[in-house]
Subunit: 236 residues, 2 copies
Amino acid sequence: MNLLLLEPSDFISGSVVRISGRRLRQLADVIRAEPGKRCKAGLLNGLTGTAELLSITPETAELSVAWNGEPPPKLAVTLIAALPRPKTFLKVLHTATVMGTERMIFIESWKVDKSYWSTPLIGPESVRENLLLALEQAGDTVLPAVEFRRRFKPFVEDELPGVAAGTTAIAGHPAAEASLPRHLSGKITLVVGPEGGFTEYEIGLLAANGVTPMSFGRRIMRTEFAVTALLARIAP
Amino acid sequence: MNLLLLEPSDFISGSVVRISGRRLRQLADVIRAEPGKRCKAGLLNGLTGTAELLSITPETAELSVAWNGEPPPKLAVTLIAALPRPKTFLKVLHTATVMGTERMIFIESWKVDKSYWSTPLIGPESVRENLLLALEQAGDTVLPAVEFRRRFKPFVEDELPGVAAGTTAIAGHPAAEASLPRHLSGKITLVVGPEGGFTEYEIGLLAANGVTPMSFGRRIMRTEFAVTALLARIAP
């Protein structure tokens, strides 16, 4: 935890919060919790600043907070990824959030195992909890949008053109002739396939709807590392 | 497994190999093992090509191999990383190998927990097995060099200047004034600190020995993702 992320419901007065549970335990790890100690803090979807410990018991801690900074800027990226297996989904959610992705849409694709859609890990409570952990890792406060689309063709034909409009829209595809530029700037729509890649039909449909297939080199990376490497090429 | 990695001891004749164990099981996953099926193959530290299944039993498979390609080029990078906790070490070893790092040196640093040096995961057998898995993921055949240095000061003063000579040598350091360029080319020496970063003394010693501290932005990433993002900025 590199930032103590607070929500309006944590406040017991204008500038004092009371926390318990996971955040209390992590706080104790981070600042050797004694009154007077400080740590970085942020208000969910708001400013960053400092929290100073006022009092602590095994169950709760009270801290005084002061806001004086902005969270780090987001990347102007919409990440569209074929839904990975559940453990990989959590890693992709983590790294994309840490790196500042504004919006993620997880989609169906031929090689997405149908069972991946039934994991509770993609439910709203799990997603929110994992997003909060990632924001605390990154030092960010602003939740990205995370959405799911279970039908490939309607998404690509009806919705994707609107998402991609006004952006540089690319899909990672090892067989593509074009190579990904070393450096991408401006608004980006980044489409990432499943393990084993998109089918030719899927790549064709993406290309017909405004997304350029591009190769990212010969080396085949695990999804969470491929997403990290692709986002690293996008300028903040 | 995106490439069946073979060693000289696998050969039972000039172009026929016999495999068992892990590779046999993974082969069965990848190509639905029936005689006549093919998969990508490579010779350890050598060429790539194709393997065709000749026969298979529950214990062994025999394949005929033909070499016709070069492995993907390496990145001209020496990665020097403070030894991470064991699980993170395996992830860093994996992603750095998949991305084509030529050489890795894991070093001591003030914030490296002493217990990390006693895990069997950093032993030569574990390292080799994990490198082979990463090469099979990447479609590469060439083992990177992986080394360990348990004393920070002698390494930085006596050895690092020779490693860094003729390279662009940078250390990731959030407090640095200089920002990492969007794109690095040529030979690179990349130094990555422990969780919590290098101490000021350590950064000073690195700087005095030819390594420029550079900031990689405000977002704090887990080590394996930071390494991935940094390597993604280096041109193949």
